[in-house]
């Protein structure tokens, strides 16, 4: 049997597990809800047990384990220093613990990098040595592949594209700065702008409020109302898209990627997003930078994380590392 790896994607609402082969195909999978209130021991025990249950469905054993998780990870040791969705895992040596429990080489990386790795080798980034991914959901994350390497930066936290400032003195961001891309175009930012607009002129917010049906207004309600032609919602969506266009032009100038891969729930839902970014970058970016540039949607959807984590682990188990890109995927 050809080698396969375990992929783990620990998200804010669910933990996804999968057995993935070298072609990026999922051979078996399962998921269960994330329980942030649990102790690190309980979280870890359920994870180990679930991985063992999943492996029991397979013939043979995995060669390695890859884990994608939101937060800050020390690259060399796989120590999880900050886990915003699961604070009980702060400073948890997740790589070492998994390695001890499963007796398998284990690799831990940021969830957005895992999803980007998946898109690189088995999705929208296939065959490219230079691209940027942008995942737009509640927040905005991203990763950079340049010259056939996924950039880590000095502390393994390169790719915080949501916190590139595109509007000096703009609206406040969760990071404490003003005018970050995330503060203008993420799910929480769109919801915030909707609330403010509705407070200013409640009559203009009728369509959005009706869709929210008494619940708190979210970006999804705004997107839905925009699709139905509601003027306020269309305006809010337009502003978010314009912010993404602005950030994209900056990224194209700084990094000169061949592709911008846009994913995430809102990345897929914002009406006309890919076309607008593509058109405006093609029209406005510096000629040399925009040449052969393209915008594509992420292919792998929710499975990018497990596929990417597993493939990262398989690739590094084989000792290939990033530079395999030089011979093409």
């Amino acid at each position: 049997m050809e080698p396969w790896s375990l992929g783990v994607d620990i998200g804010g609402t669910k933990v996804a597990l999968a057995c993935v082969n070298a072609k990026g195909r999922i051979l078996a999978k399962m998921k269960y809800p994330t329980r942030p209130q649990q102790s690190k021991e309980a979280i870890f025990e359920i994870l180990i047990q679930s991985l063992k249950d999943l492996c029991a469905q397979m013939e043979g054993s995995p060669v390695s384990v890859g884990v994608g998780i939101a937060g800050q990870i020390i690259e060399k040791t796989g120590l999880l220093t900050v886990a915003p969705n699961l604070p009980s895992l702060n400073n948890f040596p997740i790589q070492q613990k998994l390695q001890e429990a499963l007796k398998l080489p284990t690799f831990v990386l940021n969830d957005v990098k895992a999803a980007t790795w998946g898109e690189w080798w088995h999705g929208a980034g296939k065959g490219h040595r230079d691209f940027v991914s942008l995942f737009i959901g509640t927040g905005i994350g991203g990763a950079i592949v340049s010259g056939g390497q996924m950039l880590t930066g000095q502390n393994n936290c390169a790719g915080e594209i949501g916190h590139m400032i595109i509007q000096m003195n703009g609206p406040g961001c969760t990071c404490g700065n003003r005018g970050c891309l995330e503060a203008l175009a993420s799910g929480w930012a769109i919801a915030r702008q909707a609330h403010a607009a509705i407070q200013r002129a409640p009559e203009e917010g009728e369509a959005i409020l009706k869709l929210a049906a008494g619940e708190t207004v979210t970006a999804q309600h705004v997107v839905e109302a925009a699709r139905k032609g509601d003027p306020l919602a269309m305006d809010l969506v337009d502003k978010a898209i314009q912010a993404i266009v602005t950030g994209s032009i900056g990224l194209v100038h700084v990094l000169n990627p061949a592709r911008l891969i846009i994913g995430g729930g809102l990345g897929a839902a914002l009406p006309g997003l890919l076309e607008r970014v593509s058109e405006e970058v093609s029209r406005s970016a510096l000629p040399a930078a925009r040449e052969s540039f393209g915008v594509v949607g992420a292919y792998l959807g929710e499975e990018a994380g497990v596929i990417g984590a597993a493939d990262f682990a398989l690739t590094h188990w084989q000792g290939r590392g990033d530079d395999v890109a030089q011979v093409g995927p």
Copy 2:
């Protein structure tokens, strides 16, 4: 005798040539004014003759030639497609022509990348695998070293940091976009803001106008007036520095560099620039990104270009490439 290379830095006002050894030491040098009106044949002939004259001062022969020039260069062939300062060299196969004339391996790269290479191996970037350079003069250019590679992007034009948009719908830029870092903090941008402010309130511009002594007001006049405590000039300088701070925070988030190297005439002249950028990034950037981050001035000044071009050529002649950084410089 140890191997040495020829470095050429073709700038908008002068062409600098130097013989440089592997330690980055200049063994001999010369310069002459750039003459943009000349034909490509004349420009090339003077360059070849000057290089031969310079070599005549040395014992032995160079092992390779490196050329830094502003413009767009095809990485593999060294074809200069666009040379904004010397339009007669547009589409000139400079690498091939030099190679034929001098019978030496020749390497051509963008002038900012050459200066960054010089700072990397023999200046402010020494020992680092992750840094960003920012050269602030009439315009703003930069380059990125990440994971021990100088990033080229897909078309060899990564590093157009001056055209990262930091103020959506901000002042117009030469590139056609609005709110680029260059449109807020470069020499031409500061001069433009000074002209506008003086037009609005001529009495507030007295100190600057006095320094300009009847000539057109430049950023240098503004900087000089600011150093003398003139309120308008101080305000203009403050706004430029704030734009550089904003861009720097974005770069730190996107690329997670260990160092930001600031160079260029204005980079060295803007009062308090390095301290302000350092303080504000340390206070405002994401904690993981700002850890161990530092801001430093470029060391090599005007010689960064020739040293970098020569060292690039020497390194590539030796077949080492970027990744020598892995073993430390």
